[in-house]
């Protein structure tokens, strides 16, 4: 049986791991290569690197981080943040990434998904979506945010995800703008709606604070994988603890 993936996320800027609340107020800590090797040894099923600085200089640093990590870590690596073109994606994949995630650039130019899927394969193309709840309606709805959550686009998140999968996205990295950084639980209505709507894997992101939250994202949110940063970064829980807990609750997990 296919197991559910536990994915630590490393937010990196200028070659250092950071972690913030609702995309701002970053706290500094950690060397990304060391962190990644630690998570690998602990049993992470995959690693996601998000370059939140994403200036051209930062991107060169990120390429180097990916190159070093890929020599030490033998699980899949996904890299995102500021990738704007096929050549940006190619650089990351050549450096050792297995997947690239694109967000703002895909919203501006959806053909990037199609071109990327044709060149690198759909399995390489992860669509990252930051979804913010829209208020004042009976029906639940979400709007796409770009630029690291700073800019509202007015685009319906569900419609966008559907279109992106048709264009070539092979996986959805779904972050709840509202829940992210608050450690109060994932937006599982969002997770379940998207997971049931598309035929590609969904990674739930944003809001993990307890073991129960991770369980809920998989059991209620129907996600294929859970991503978390803070709880692992600050050693609130080890990956091993998470896996033992989830396995005890009947979730298929790689031990």
């Amino acid at each position: 049986m296919l197991t559910k993936r536990i994915i630590p996320c490393l937010d990196v800027t200028a070659g250092r791991v950071v972690k913030g609340t609702s995309f701002t107020n970053l706290r500094d800590a950690g060397d990304p290569v060391e962190q990644a090797a630690f998570y690998y040894q602990e049993g992470a099923d995959e690693l996601v690197f998000l370059d939140i600085g994403a200036t051209p200089e930062a991107r060169d640093t990120m390429v180097e981080v990916v190159r070093r990590v890929s020599k030490k870590v033998f699980v899949p690596l996904c890299v995102g943040g500021g990738l704007r073109s096929i050549s940006d994606m190619r650089r990351m994949l050549m450096a050792g990434a297995d997947k690239v995630s694109i967000n703002t650039a895909a919203v501006h130019k959806p053909e990037l998904l199609k071109e990327g899927a044709a060149i690198f394969g759909r399995q390489c193309m992860v669509l990252a979506v930051d979804a913010k709840r829209t208020r004042g309606k009976d029906e639940p709805g979400w709007e796409v945010c770009t630029h690291g959550g700073r800019k509202l686009t007015g685009i319906d998140a569900l419609e966008w995800i559907k279109q992106a999968v048709e264009m070539g996205a092979g996986e959805i990295l779904l972050t709840s703008w509202d829940a992210d950084g608050h450690q109060a639980g994932y937006d599982n209505e969002l997770n379940r709606t998207v997971s049931e709507m598309v035929n590609v894997p969904v990674i739930a992101s944003g809001g993990a604070g307890t073991l129960e939250h991770l369980y809920q994202a998989l059991a209620i949110g129907k996600a294929d994988a859970v991503l978390a940063a803070s709880i692992f970064h600050y050693r609130e829980y080890s990956i091993k603890q998470v896996k033992q807990y989830l396995a005890g609750k009947g979730i298929p997990i790689r031990n």
Binding site: M1, L2, T3, K4, R5, Y40, G43, D45, S70, K71, K72, F74, V75, P76, M94, A95, G96, D98, F120, G121, R122, Q123, C124, G170, E171, N199, V200, P201, D224, A225, R254, N255
Partner: protein, 208 residues
């Protein structure tokens, strides 16, 4: 034979996950040669055929540099060869991917699309049931999880070549062994320590 003395070639046909395969072999203490030269590949003691992406493109890439014929020769000579993911798929007779595409026909059989109703690609860690007893599984327990990422699966006619199977909507062949030909649908180079162990077992077998 000491590590490093053995000539290991990783076939470079302009696509695929060869960087990851090279990193895994380097970690194990080997110094693989990444090459698109048929001459170098035929000269090597051990050959890796990596693969990611579409089978049709992979076949085109291999044929463009004369590598499809070279791979057939290696198999005929029983040269140790390890094929990964799409590298496994192109060993079969044909694939449904992209309509219908002729492949190398080294392992008679078809490559088919995974059944509808499940998420495609089959992405993540899944168990490999060992249906063959073989030293390549030394210190790798039965039903160990390996990393998969694919939308099509191999269906070889001759069931005696099936070394491992995996369940995803159906039970499919996830590993093939025939003489010195080893092929996995999963990615050992992305499967943590058990994956590295499998490469190391294979390389031990290849040098004995």
């Amino acid at each position: 034979m000491r590590k490093g003395q053995k000539k290991i070639a990783v076939i470079n046909y302009g696509a695929g996950n060869l960087g990851s395969v090279v990193n895994a072999l380097t970690r194990l203490g080997y110094q693989p040669l990444v090459t698109d030269s048929v001459f170098e590949v035929l000269k090597a003691d051990v050959v890796f055929l990596p693969g990611v992406g579409a089978a049709g493109d992979t076949m085109k890439g291999l044929e463009a540099i004369g590598m499809a014929d070279a791979v057939k020769k290696l198999v005929a000579w029983r040269r140790p060869l390890f094929a990964i993911c799409v590298g496994l798929q192109v060993l079969l007779s044909s694939t449904e991917e992209g309509g219908h595409y002729q492949c190398m026909d080294i392992i008679p059989g078809e490559v088919k699309k995974l059944p509808a109703g499940l998420k495609i690609p089959h992405m993540g860690w899944n168990q490999v049931k060992q249906v063959m007893s073989h030293p390549v599984f030394t210190d790798i327990p039965d039903n160990t999880n390996f990393y998969f990422i694919h939308s099509y699966y191999a269906h070889p006619q001759d069931k005696s070549v099936v070394a491992g199977t995996t369940e995803y909507g159906l039970e499919f062949c996830s590993m093939i062994i025939k003489d010195n030909l080893f092929a996995t649908q999963f990615h050992p180079e992305k499967s943590g320590e058990p994956g590295l162990k499998m490469y190391s077992n294979f390389l031990k077998i290849a040098s004995s």
